[in-house]
Subunit: 759 residues, 2 copies
């Protein structure tokens, strides 16, 4: 097993059930629109557990989520991402003997992911029970260029015989989401969300159309096959499924290839998804598979060029970070109808929901490498403003919008509101991401068109949530990022985020007014100068808890009065604590699941003195378990800021390999996209010390002892900058665009070509 540069390969693949499930995730193919888990084409033995899924981003049905006790406004159903079809199943028989890694003799078996080609593959040399040897190479691709397209190229080479190989390639419409009667964390029994609508075979192509049981959506999948040589190829329809049978003669040392194209079309994107599927299948066929592969490479070349990142002296880390960035581009939605799910399109964990992960962990990556994707992500929040308004009303707020904590199409899907809906910081996070986009791009037109409305409406909510008390503006009964402390008063992170949101609402008002770009929006949402004065007042009087004695910002009003959890003496098997302790018990202690105040110190670093940040960091370090995958990257960033470089490195190293090493034991349910974005952030914001502020762009590079050098690239306004950091010097190169002033340490530099700073 091992990573090469942009290639991840596992030899002598384990046939342990759990390992197989992890690999279904790790090697999944996705392009932001569709995602296919990497199940074996030939299936596993029936006793094996498997999550055999193909997903469409933003395509959902509604699932019951009854509350144990009914209370006004509690969510009673949720949107859930669906497994829409199975087109990965292909059974092979070699001279009548069915191919299976569980039969005969496996001479070689490896799996790989080529991140420059955008292709996953299996390479197998297999000897059948009767002694026939074949080499099988199976390549899979979800196209970044033609988003609905998924291809399987299945090649068989006869090594020691002449004979016949047969393929049975399936197109199965009657699929369900994953369930496991023995695992209380996933669905116990599998409800049928998709109902058959129509199945047809047209010139040997099969089309299956299904509709959702509740959400009134449709999906059509089209499948076609080609054989590399003359043979018998025939597709027949069954009950809402189709089977393509191919039979072909093969000579010793000859290779025969079956190519299977699947297209996915849904009624969210196409009024007539059947017609769309037919067009997409035509389009897929209009060029060769090789041409598809080339287009994929081209797309990825540009991607890798934009997000180039290298760590000399730590190949494993470079490669893990490459893997992570690749998963981000695989996962992120490419249109306004979707976003990026907590597990991307790699599995059913968190049911395909979008969280604050998008804005606070993933958007920074796209902001700096491909801002047009950030625009899509903000566009999704913009298009769901009305749902956020409805949500705010359910929560009793007379003005403003409240974004849902977890959602697919904008409706709140949190079952347990104390660590769901109560996390009002989601509003501040989304506003923050709009501001971050603006600061990185200065794209005021987009702000005028979409961004400002989000910032104004979220700002309005704070005025309705909070109240003045003893001369300051307070925000009560909310949950901050740390889910081990819920429904508190004056969560520092939330208040700081609200302050930033309110201040920028005023700034955008002024910027747009000055630019003459405010009129439409002003009229649409009835914004007035008087209201911005309310924003400003609340921001200026925002209460940010501070403890004089400890010199830190307490996480909330009562955090410091609680018992300190004895993390050191808690047995290892009791982590994560949430699986072993009642929420009330957790809430009653000083114990954090993840970065909370420390996160605020990263993104709002100018709100506090360095001394306070240092004290806070030291304090929270002792009471944080990092039971969340969103935590150590943030601690790494702040450690870098505080010049604790080796500590920053330790935090970073723990975090970067989460999915490749299944360190959280749940990679089978999908990748951890926020963690992946966080790794990028830990390098660029952490070691690189990047900050983009109103006053300009800042770097403060540090480098861990064990690294020789690291470099990365970022977009800033119209320019692209390469940053190279060594122990002896840092250099900044303008790769594209106009000259910029950059700040490194306390010094400003004009960057027109290259700036080298010796230490």
């Amino acid at each position: 097993m091992g990573l090469q540069y942009k290639r991840y390969e596992v030899d002598n693949i384990s046939m342990d059930n759990n390992d197989l499930m992890i690999n279904e995730t790790v090697f999944h193919n996705a392009n932001g629109y569709i995602g296919i888990r990497s199940n074996y084409e030939e299936d596993y033995p029936t006793v094996y557990d498997t999550i055999r899924g193909s997903y469409i981003n933003g395509f959902y049905d509604i699932a019951d989520m009854k509350q144990a006790e009914k209370l006004y406004g509690l969510v009673e159903d949720k949107q859930a991402m669906l497994n829409v079809v199975d087109t990965q199943t292909i059974h092979l028989t070699v001279e009548g003997e069915p191919f299976s890694l569980f039969e005969g003799k496996v001479l070689e078996s490896k799996r790989w992911l080529d991140m420059e080609a955008g292709v996953t593959g299996r390479t197998i040399r297999w000897c059948s029970p009767s002694g026939k040897q074949v080499e099988i190479v199976i390549k899979r691709m979800t196209s970044f260029v033609q988003l609905p397209l998924f291809t399987i190229e299945y090649s068989v080479k006869a090594l020691n015989f002449n004979g016949v190989v047969k393929f049975r390639s399936y197109h199965l419409g009657e699929v369900t989401n994953y369930s496991n009667a023995n695992d209380p964390r996933v669905a116990q029994d599998s409800r049928k969300y998709l109902l058959p609508v129509q199945a047809e075979i047209v010139n040997g192509d099969s089309y299956l159309t299904s509709r959702t049981s509740m959400s009134e959506l449709r999906v059509c999948t089209g499948v076609t096959h080609t054989l590399s040589k003359e043979g018998n190829l025939h597709t027949a329809g069954l009950e809402h499924s189709a089977i393509c049978k191919a039979e072909v003669k093969i000579a010793e040392q000859e290779t025969v290839t079956l190519t299977k194209y699947t297209v996915f079309c849904d009624s969210i994107r196409s009024r007539d998804c059947i017609a769309a599927a037919k067009l997409e299948l035509e389009k897929a066929r209009s060029i060769t598979l090789e041409e598809h592969y080339l287009a994929q490479r081209k797309y990825l070349k540009e991607f890798w060029d934009n997000c180039f990142l290298e760590i000399k002296g730590d190949d494993a880390l470079t490669e893990a970070v490459n893997y992570n960035m690749y998963q981000l581009v695989q996962s992120v939605g490419k249109d306004e109808y979707c976003n990026i799910a907590a597990k991307g399109l790699s599995g059913e964990g968190y049911e395909g929901h979008y969280f604050w992960d998008t804005e606070m962990y993933i958007q920074p990556f796209f902001n700096l490498t491909e801002p047009s994707i950030t625009k899509n992500l903000i566009g999704f929040r913009y298009s769901t403003l009305e749902k956020a308004r409805e949500n705010a009303r359910i929560l009793g707020h007379k003005r403003g919008v409240l974004y849902p904590w977890r959602t697919i199409m904008g409706v709140e899907c949190s079952g347990y509101f104390p660590s769901g809906t109560a996390a009002y910081h989601i509003n501040g996070d989304i506003a923050y991401s709009v501001i971050a986009y603006y600061l990185a791009t200065k794209d005021l037109d987009f702000i005028a068109r979409e961004g400002a409305e989000i910032v104004f409406e979220t700002a309005r909510l704070w005025l309705d949530v909070g109240n003045y008390y003893q001369g300051s503006f307070r925000i009560n009964e909310v949950t901050g990022p740390d889910e081990y402390t819920c429904m508190v008063n004056n969560n520092y992170f939330t208040n700081a985020a609200a302050q930033y949101n309110l201040l920028w609402a005023v700034k955008f008002y002024e910027l747009l007014k000055t630019a003459g770009k405010l009129a439409v929006l002003e009229n649409k949402i009835g914004l007035s100068f008087e209201e911005t004065r309310e924003f400003r007042q609340a921001a200026e009087q925002m209460y940010l808890p501070y403890d004089e004695e400890l010199g830190i910002n307490p996480q909330d009003d009562s955090f410091l009065a609680k018992k300190v959890w004895d993390i050191k003496n808690t047995p290892e098997e009791e982590f994560p604590l949430l699986l072993h302790y009642h929420p009330l018990h957790l809430y009653r202690h000083q114990v954090c699941k993840q970065a909370d105040t420390v996160f605020a110190h990263f993104i709002f670093e100018d709100a506090q003195s360095l001394e306070t940040i240092r004290n806070s960091f030291d304090y929270y370090e002792k009471v944080t378990t990092h039971d969340s995958s969103l935590s150590t990257c943030i601690f790494s960033i702040v450690a870098s800021k505080l010049d604790q470089v080796e500590k920053a490195y330790d935090y970073f190293g723990d975090s970067a390999k989460l999915d490749l090493f299944n360190t959280h034991k749940n990679t089978k349910d999908g990748i951890h996209t926020a963690n992946m974005g966080g790794n990028f952030m830990a390098i660029v914001y952490g070691f690189g010390g990047l900050r983009i502020k109103e006053s300009g762009i800042y770097f403060a590079p540090v480098i861990p002892h064990s690294w020789e050098e690291y470099s990365f690239r970022i977009n800033y306004e119209d320019s692209q900058i390469r940053v190279e950091v060594k122990h002896s010097e840092s250099s900044f190169t303008l790769l594209k665009g106009t000259a910029k002033v950059i700040h490194v340490g306390n010094q400003a530099y004009e960057l027109s070509d290259k700036v080298v700073i010796h230490k």
Copy 2:
């Protein structure tokens, strides 16, 4: 409609569906063991909704209660009181015409409850479609003397014809709990909790035995009939049911009576519930119905003697309070296997669960009128100590017990823990009730046997829940009585209750040690002097929030920092707020569902100055909606204490008629037992100013302007005292027992016969 003294009667009974359902509750028969809703024997038209139920106190099955999101320790199923059988159905035909109030002509129809006889009844004069007139009188009784026994005496008098009347009397084992697909507050579809085991007919008596689906309990009901004159009486078995057909000739002006005896026996109380049912049926038959009626009267005579209460100048109130006291004795469990449910045995609201209502609203009534029942109620808590210990462990506590917020047999059944399990004051309430029993009776033997263990184990929990901070002992993340403010720090009520619990743990330790009654318990639970020092220290350093500026005890640490809810400008239709606002919105405001700190000021009045109590009362009055039926009685008591007698009267008047006037709009689901106890408290503790403390017994009588006089009786230690209060004087008479020192106002008096105090 109207109440006479201990008789409640409704003439020209309404046939409106909702009124019928309310009357099913209001006229139900119960004796603390069984409860039968007052459904019409002849049924309603099928389009009518009805809750046709017969219940056994403490008899339950387990119902699913899935959480919307799974979290460690959250309750996923609950115990639910079952409808066990239908034996109230009797169809009558008069010369072939079926009797129904929805057919023919109703000449008279009234219902009544005789609270001295312990019998409910219907009197109907009816003219059939063809003109036959009958007078029907139906009396029902659940015997206080033979608890398993329920009787129906069904008499028909022919007014203008000679002919034949036929009865079809049913014994139906295939019953379900109430469900209504259109009402989200009750079960949507009716699960079958009871499964048939055995049905037999023995000498014309029918016995049906069923078992619960999950809890492994059995119930057997036996039914027998007699006819007042020779006739054809035959019982036949059907599928898990039986039908008794009676046919008898009737002459004009003759009366024919069918008497139906039902006995209920369950496997909680009897190892062989079928054998038990047979014995009980024999026992029922061994005396005449008239003798049963006499025994019932005798039981109630003693009851009314003990709790005699009269208000001259306000008959309606006297009668409402009598009704309420009668419901309490109907509802309260008479053995150690059960308690008193929030709705008694009158309906399925709150699923037959027991709450803090028992200790804080109902036990005071029995403490002062029939302390042996208090002993039973405490005995129930004692017998469920082990379940409370398990509950504490689930909540993360290493020592002590935590009683469930709602339960049938000791297991927590709260679905929504923030206003359920988090209400840790339940521990303090139970300890308080043990102490109250001791103060009223000085029964140290019972304390040694059962009470002290409860007080010690609940005290231990506080040590585990709380922590010292800045020199005082704090209790974080609990919910006080007010359910509009959840999971707060240092709820005043809770901290005061914990302090009292801890202090009395020390006192009981000392009392029992001195009396030489501690050894067994000391050994059993490993209590030591050192531990009592911990108790004492925590009690002495207990943090009781106090606001200097307002001179009040804030409800909790953050209560005063929240927005004040604008109750005055909230439209009337938005009450109760919990049906119109999301919990987060409620929690974020200063708004109380019910008495909380004000409650603490009543039961722990010596903890604060009168001035503070007055300030608190004024403050909380403005922010309390009284959306709970447990609230106004407490405000009434404290208003009395503060000499705001007319205000006390207003609060009291609102509260006392809740069920008779259906003021909370949910009487159909059952009576409000805690409210009923609260009415008694409002008179005795409120107007009468009764307090029983370590230092003795106190009165501070006041009398509302509109009353001429009121009087009540209480038990105190070995004595019974009658209290009579007029505007001009108060008098205290020793009815039984030894002389006592009583305190009235600031004066102590020796009460050996009668003390009269002129104003």
